[in-house]
Structures are given as C-alpha cells and as structure tokens.
C-alpha cells in the first residue's frame, strides 16, 4: 500500500485543523514554521518527531498554553469545531472541549489524588463526576490506594493521575503529550488500551504526541512526522509504519529485525528530511 499523503477530498471538515501556523517564543525564537495538520472527528492522530522538533509547542499552540510561556502564534490559523481558536485564552479553549495532558505530568503536588481528579472536572457541573472518578480508579487502581499528597507519588503514578485528570474533563479532543513516558511496559500497554477505549467507547478524538512510535502507530489512524517545526511526512498510520525512514528512525530496524543498542556505530546516522 502506498502512503496516501492527503486526506480524501470528500472527507467532512476535520474537528481540529491547524493551518500553516508559525510560532515564536520571546518574540525571537521561531519554533514552528508553517505547520499544518488536521484531526478528524472521532479519530486518533499521532504526531511523531525528534526532541525539540516542536511537538509540545504544537500542542500548546492548540490549547492556548503557549501564551503562558511568552510564545505566540504569529501566522496561520487554528480552527476547532468550525471556529477559530487561536488567540483565545486557554481556559476558554478547555471549555470548548480541548484538554491537554501536559508533558512532564504537572500534577498539583500539594493536593491529594482525589482533589486532582476533581479539579480535572472543574469545568463540569453535572452529577456524573463521582461516577467518572470511579471510572478513573478502575483504570488505575493504584491511584485509589494512594491517599497522601500527589507530590509524593512515583513518576509513573503521577503520569496515571495526569491521564486520569484528562478523562475527568470529558473533552471532545484530548491532546496527549507523551502519555507513556515513565510508565512500565505493562502500563504502557494498558494506557494505549485506555486510549483506544476512550476513542471507541466515548468517541473522544485524540491527538497523540508519542515517542513510542510503534504503539502510537498501532492505535492511530493517521500520523504526522515533524522535524524542525514542520510536517515532513504524513499519511495513514499503516502507511507510515511501512515507510522505510520511519522504520529506520522511529520503529527500529527493518521487518522483524531489531538492532542491538550495544552495537551502534557512533557516527551520525541521522537522516534529515529537510
């Protein structure tokens, strides 16, 4: 199957569309240079890329959190559900239904797990919050046992909490920044299972930034590869998984072979698309 680099023309307008945006930090550091991507309703889209490519920046641009770091979208537009959202304050974007799981967990250390979860549901005022808390506990039983302050949780436990908090918001779109970071292999699998279930059962659309490309491509329907602030490759997840470069640099090895980490040559092997 050949990589289809464009969405079919007839597809309905995507839930989230990022058109040709440019992002600058501190008025000088240009990080995203004309990045475009689309996330269709009800799908999981993966965003891959090297450290510093600008993945997190892309997510922050969508969720509006860029503003809090002296960053700014200087060109292009971002639409969600048919309306422009660039330039809107982050808390209003959350209310429109976009929730970001931030890189590095960022749980509120001086509150308990329960309080963290309740805060996840801050924008909601329905009666089902309690039930959703139970749902999160069901996904991550470990969290229920931890009654102390969240700051004392282990790294992985904090990661679970961060994901659980996003579930509490019941958003239309979750932006996940490296959800599997620091999780044990068993849990990584579980988390991806949860992501899939969220998508299938609750119909939540997900934009997934992930370093575990193998896993990401296995749950996503579509994927983008970023480099230095630009999309350099995109296509259906299946197509990308077959792409030679992606195999080489993100999945490791060709076919069934796996390179040993021990026998790497120490010259620059890096292929650049740019």
């Amino acid at each position: 199957m050949s990589a289809s680099l464009k969405l079919p023309e007839a597809a309905p307008a995507p839930l989230l569309e990022v058109k040709n945006i440019e992002v600058v930090y501190n008025d000088v550091i240009l990080v995203l240079r004309g990045l475009s991507l689309a996330v269709p309703q009800g799908k999981i889209v993966a965003l891959l890329g090297a450290n510093g490519a600008g993945k997190s920046t892309t997510l922050k641009a969508i969720s509006g959190l860029l503003k809090t770091e002296e960053g700014e979208v200087t060109r292009g537009e971002i639409t969600f559900d048919g309306a422009r959202i660039d330039g809107i304050d982050p808390h209003l974007i959350v209310r429109r239904g976009i929730f970001q799981v931030m890189e590095g967990r960022r749980i509120i250390a001086d509150m308990t797990c329960l309080e963290n979860l309740r805060l996840g549901a801050f924008i909601r005022s329905d009666a089902e919050v309690k039930r959703d808390i139970d749902m999160v506990y069901e996904y991550f039983p470990r969290l229920k046992e931890r009654t102390g302050l969240a700051g004392y949780l282990s790294g992985g436990e904090q990661q679970m909490l961060a994901i659980g908090r996003a579930l509490m918001a019941r958003p239309k779109l979750i932006l996940m920044d490296e959800p599997s970071m620091g999780l044990s292999p068993l849990l990584v699998k579980e988390v991806f299972g949860i992501i899939r279930r969220l998508n299938e059962e609750l119909g939540i659309t997900i934009l997934l930034v992930e370093q575990n490309a193998r896993m990401a491509l296995s749950v996503a329907s579509h994927a983008y590869v970023m480099e230095q602030g630009k999309v350099v490759l995109d296509g259906s997840a299946a197509a990308l998984a077959e792409n030679e470069d992606v195999k080489e640099f993100y999945l490791g090895g060709h076919g069934t072979e796996r390179k040993s980490f021990r026998n790497l040559k120490s010259y620059k092997r890096r292929k650049r698309w740019l």
Binding site: A53, G104, G156, L183, L186, V188, Q211, Y250, F261, R269
Partner: protein, 276 residues
C-alpha cells in the same frame, strides 16, 4: 551479552536489608543487592515499586528506615547528601532537576563544584586569588563533556528553554561533570524517540567503558535494559523479586506477570533475533 569492561569482584555499592517507610506506605522492604565495580546495573519494576526511592537512598535524599548502604567499602547510610558528590556518586533525576535560569554551561560547571577549591573571597578577587586559572582549567574539561554529549549548540542557552530531550542530556552532562565513580540514572531515556535512545545508549556505554564509570540505571525500555546492562534487579512493591543477567531475569515468569504483562510486545521484541 557483548563484551564489557572488566568487572572487579569487590562491590562498589552494596545495599543491605534496606527498608523505607513513609507513614503507612512501604516504599522498600529489605532490599539487598550489590553493584560491582565497572558494571551497568539496571533496576526495573512496575510503577511505584520503589526504584526511585532506592536511588534516593543511595544518593542520600532519603534515609532508609532500616538497613544500610555501603559505597566503596565505607558505610554511607548517614552521610549527608552534599558529601556524596565528593565520594563519587552522581545522579540524574526522573523529573528533570536542572537549574532553569542558568546557561547550560553553568549548569555543567555546577557539577564541578566539589572539584573547585576557590571560595567566595578568591572568587571576588578573581584575578588575584587564582580563581581565573581554576575556572579556565575546568572550563576546558567541561567543554570536553559538552563535545562528548553533542550539546555544543545550546551551550549558552538557559536550560529552562530547552526541549525535554535536550534537558535530559544536559542533566547527564552535569552528572558526568561530577567525575563520579558511580552514576545513577533515573529513566534516562524517558521521552526520547528511538534514534535518541540509541544516542543515549551509546553515551551510557561510553561512560561505562571509556570513562570507567559504574552505572546504575532505572529504565522502562526493555530493549535498552536488555542490551546494555550487565545485570538487572527487579523490584515489585518495594521488594526485590529477581536479580541476575538480563535474559534470565526477563524470562522469569514472576517478572513477566508483574512487570511486562503476558505476551508483552516488548518481550516479543526480545525474542526476535538481534542483528549485530
């Protein structure tokens, strides 16, 4: 397993019956193990198993409720944290702990702290007290580390503005600058893609083989653990449940169930032939 630096029998680090409790939480229960001079030793285990807590005990952040820790034949259970750098223990952190407002260069220079001799008075006099000479000498060595870890391009950038992966690398550089005998790495590959993990693996191997550092590593990526560690210990609920050569440990059914999950993908990977 590929050839490794010669492993001396005398343990460089030994933990004997280490237990750690926080109120009702038992983070560690009677964990004993020894790391030999020159090896790459990995700790794996489920989240919340107590891996970081163990490293914290070694680096002095936590004091074991019971048991003790010996480093190079000397008991260090009660040695204050700040003395351990000079003893030769360096570490990186699971949640980044860089000095965000300092430049990368200064961050790494802080790693040299215990090697520098000139205090604030010679420092203020700079040209007169010999501080300048000392600074230049150490700067030279730090630049070597920077070259080695390939972070020249961000040398003067404030550490807080770097991307996650680069920050991890700077943290490693800072720990290396300490000239430790034993370096503790808490999930050095978290948040990296394959390519970057490869780089990181190579750095760790070089540190071990060429710079002669003993490495203790916590890592969830089984591929890396398999390939570069000499021995692996598995913790579960604060207890040591297995220890030994990587292949043996990962084949342990107990470990498979507690940590990897049955028929885990990572395990499938590991069953596949490895191309040299």
């Amino acid at each position: 397993m590929a050839e490794a630096a010669p492993i001396l029998e005398a343990p460089i680090l030994e933990a004997r019956g280490v237990s750690l409790r926080f109120g009702g939480v038992r983070a560690l229960t009677e964990v004993s193990f020894a790391i030999r001079q020159g090896e790459v030793f990995s700790i794996i285990g489920p989240n919340g198993a107590g891996k970081t807590s163990m490293v914290n005990c070694i680096s002095g952040r936590y004091r074991p409720t019971e048991g003790g820790i010996w480093f190079g034949g000397q008991e260090i259970t009660r040695v204050p944290v700040r003395r351990r750098a000079a003893l030769g223990i360096g570490r990186t952190f699971q949640n980044l702990a860089l000095f965000g407002h300092m430049s990368v260069l200064d961050n790494i220079m802080v790693g040299r702290h215990h090697l520098l001799r000139r205090g604030f008075l010679p420092g203020m006099l700079y040209w007169l007290g010999g501080a300048q000479r000392e600074e230049i000498a150490h700067r030279r060595e730090v630049e070597e580390i920077i070259d080695f870890l390939e972070i020249q391009h961000v040398r003067k950038a404030p550490a807080g503005t770097l991307s996650y992966g680069l920050r991890k690398r700077v943290e490693l550089a800072r720990a290396v600058a300490l000239k430790p005998k034993l370096i503790l790495l808490d999930e050095p590959m978290a948040g990296m893609n394959l390519e970057e993990k490869e780089d990181m693996a190579r750095f760790i191997l070089d540190l071990n083989e060429e710079w002669g550092m003993t490495v203790l590593m916590i890592e969830h990526d089984m591929g890396v653990v398999m390939d570069i560690s000499h021995r692996v210990m598995v913790l579960d609920f604060g207890r040591r449940i297995a220890e030994g050569a990587p292949e043996a440990v990962l084949a342990d059914p107990h470990v498979k169930r507690a940590y990897l999950g049955e028929a885990d993908e990572a395990v499938r990977d590991l069953d596949e032939p490895v191309t040299a």
